[in-house]
Amino acid sequence: MKNMLVVTSGIVAMILSTATLAGPREDLLAQYAAAAKTTGFSAARGQTLHTQSFSGGKPDTPSCTTCHGKDTRGAGRALTGKTIEPVAVSVTPTRYTDPAKVEKWFKRNCTEVLGRECTVQEKGDWLTFVIGQ
């Protein structure tokens, strides 16, 4: 009985540590994948989303790059003049590790740029794109 308990807790610990290893960004992507009922997110689609111009949102922010800049590894600038840290994970490794914060900004920024909220597919594609940048 005691042995079984040790084995069980060992397994639980292993699962937990694997989850920690995967990291919050990967967990979030997995959640998006489950919600979108897809296995594939595409960095290329994410890049298109990031750079293309939309007409549904606010006229002064037609695309993500309006504020975030064309270079994902360079700093962006909000219309208020405030600097925005680069979106690329390679340059700003702390980014996208707080799921609530990621969701908050997707909601706010997609509404401003696209005039609607982003789909889970779009979120997954975009996140895949910036994680690889």
């Binding site: 606010k58 909000a78 219309l79 208020t80 003049g81 405030k82 706010r108 509404t111 401003e112």
Partner: protein, 163 residues
Amino acid sequence: MRIPYRPLAISLVTLAFSALVFARAQAGDRHFFAPVADPVVKEECGSCHLAFAPSMLPARSWQRMMGELDNHFGDNASLDAATAEKITSYLVANAGDVGGQRYSSKLLKGVAAGAAPQRITELPKWVSEHRKVPDWEWRHKEVRTKANCVACHTAAEQGSYDE
């Protein structure tokens, strides 16, 4: 009688210098607005723009602003109710017309008693303090808007609006 020119000159220069330093230090005090200390307020109010010092507006301004976050100067900056409430109490508790604020009363000079101004840059005192800034400087690509305090006041995030 022999006048001790040299020591006299030295003391005069010293005196003038300390007067200058003292005047500058005083000016520094006058232009100090305690920055936001609360991490939640700093995060939520400081992502898109400088987290403006709560002492720059009266409490009623902050109350109105926090009630209209869905149209925050044209942007939807809505927050969940709990966070919004937390931020409102911080802003109100540290507002410019709340007791103990020594310098912000000057910035709020000329604001009507019941008024709830929303833009710091439209306060009469703010306008008069910035009257000498030419139009092209506001349009400069590093400035862009009058709300971009740090473009000129490099220590604004620390609360100092000296230069």
